[in-house]
Symmetry: D2
Subunit: 153 residues, 4 copies
Amino acid sequence: MTEPDPTALRRNDFPVLRSLPTRWSDDDTYGHVNNVVHHSMFDTAVNGWLIEASGVDIRTLPAIGLVVETSCRYFAELRFPETVTAGVALEHLGTSSVVYRLALFGAASQQPVAVGRFVHVYVSRDDRRPTPVPPEIRRALATLGGPGSVSRS
Amino acid sequence: MTEPDPTALRRNDFPVLRSLPTRWSDDDTYGHVNNVVHHSMFDTAVNGWLIEASGVDIRTLPAIGLVVETSCRYFAELRFPETVTAGVALEHLGTSSVVYRLALFGAASQQPVAVGRFVHVYVSRDDRRPTPVPPEIRRALATLGGPGSVSRS
Amino acid sequence: MTEPDPTALRRNDFPVLRSLPTRWSDDDTYGHVNNVVHHSMFDTAVNGWLIEASGVDIRTLPAIGLVVETSCRYFAELRFPETVTAGVALEHLGTSSVVYRLALFGAASQQPVAVGRFVHVYVSRDDRRPTPVPPEIRRALATLGGPGSVSRS
Amino acid sequence: MTEPDPTALRRNDFPVLRSLPTRWSDDDTYGHVNNVVHHSMFDTAVNGWLIEASGVDIRTLPAIGLVVETSCRYFAELRFPETVTAGVALEHLGTSSVVYRLALFGAASQQPVAVGRFVHVYVSRDDRRPTPVPPEIRRALATLGGPGSVSRS
């Protein structure tokens, strides 16, 4: 099985789209949004959506999502004051872990400027040992559709 | 002359209002938006508005605005995923310098969560020596009204 | 009483000096450390010193220091990979509040690149109401010397 | 070929080690260094070392390194004021691209807290088209040893 071309992803491949403005200080010495900021956008898109979709403050649940893996591939440059649209999709839901597929779209193009992956493992707040994904989170994830449910038009 | 009470400032005291979402990583170990982030919001509000209102990319002008002074007073806590409204007003326009008065408003209250001051000095891009505020910037600032022109209702 | 010239401050005007390296992403589109980063350096210098000098994890005390005021004046530019030396001095110790005077020194000059002020108000962790500065913090601050105790050589 | 266990990596697997202090605002609402910061540490370690080892300001070369891929796996939590040691190794050197293998080590353990990958593609500063890795960068990379040259003791 070959991996599909990530630059072929479009906004409508993602069940959730979040609007994320850039900040002045996001641009680095090369005059474009620094590579680190994309990860902050992923983090913000996932957690912001989780808070909204679950209807609970996920930070107060007995289990919290620790980030165990992040990755990003960059295809084009962003620049302040561009507003980014982040696409969030569910790639895998395990017992304790959730894998998200993410993309960032700039204002000017149908193609993503970046595509990433973001993995949460749920742990007990107190002892930080893996624990099942909380029901509040599972209910929110169910609205994303399962892997494969996001059909390309 | 006594300084007016900054907590009495309201959204309609500011000719420009900008919407600035928080990010997940803005919250620090105390579970609130870290004090540093407010300065990033000021920076973003001023420069974002300048780019929009001047209609030019201010970064390509022969004179650029260097920040020579920033300050912030904090009255209440912010927390992700709150969206902040930043108010921008002109406090003083000099030959080479522009002083902005800023406030940040949270979603829940009429009172500002923070009030600040932000000073640009325009310098020649090449030798970084003070130079007059560029005409493109002056024209944008004229739409803000002068100091005192923002009347409290 | 006129305010002393802040550019006349030197490293030996500060009882505590902390070494703070810059990061690649600190530099913004103008190729210098963004004004926001200086505030992060102040925050880091004060809290890092407090943890070290008090010998306790200040985050676990029943009272925590909330930042109620920050300010910075910028005299020169910094650029990655410069390592900054932050000077920390006690300007005022009140019942619930601590005012710090700070300066940042670059590698190349005796003059500060920036001078700032940073105010903590101690509040009860639970209800966030002002409370006296904890004894662990007071003992650490005593080693800074009182205001005026820092004599210029 | 199975991928070697990344948690088995040790400081002496990396020809370059860089010391990177945490900042107060690196810790997020969960009281640990936010996942985004690790990428900032990678960025800082690679570019800081490149500037030092090449003896030139890499930002002024006709070709600059754009980041096209980043990834990080997280094995343990970091917390301010811990100082991190970043290990940098060369994984692959192509015509226009450089792949770095990175690890972050905390103060308390021989095991890495995080392991990552960071890919630069060199482009012409003006038109941003791929161009060969500049000789100044190649000479610096030569001191890292080639892939496989870093033997495990």
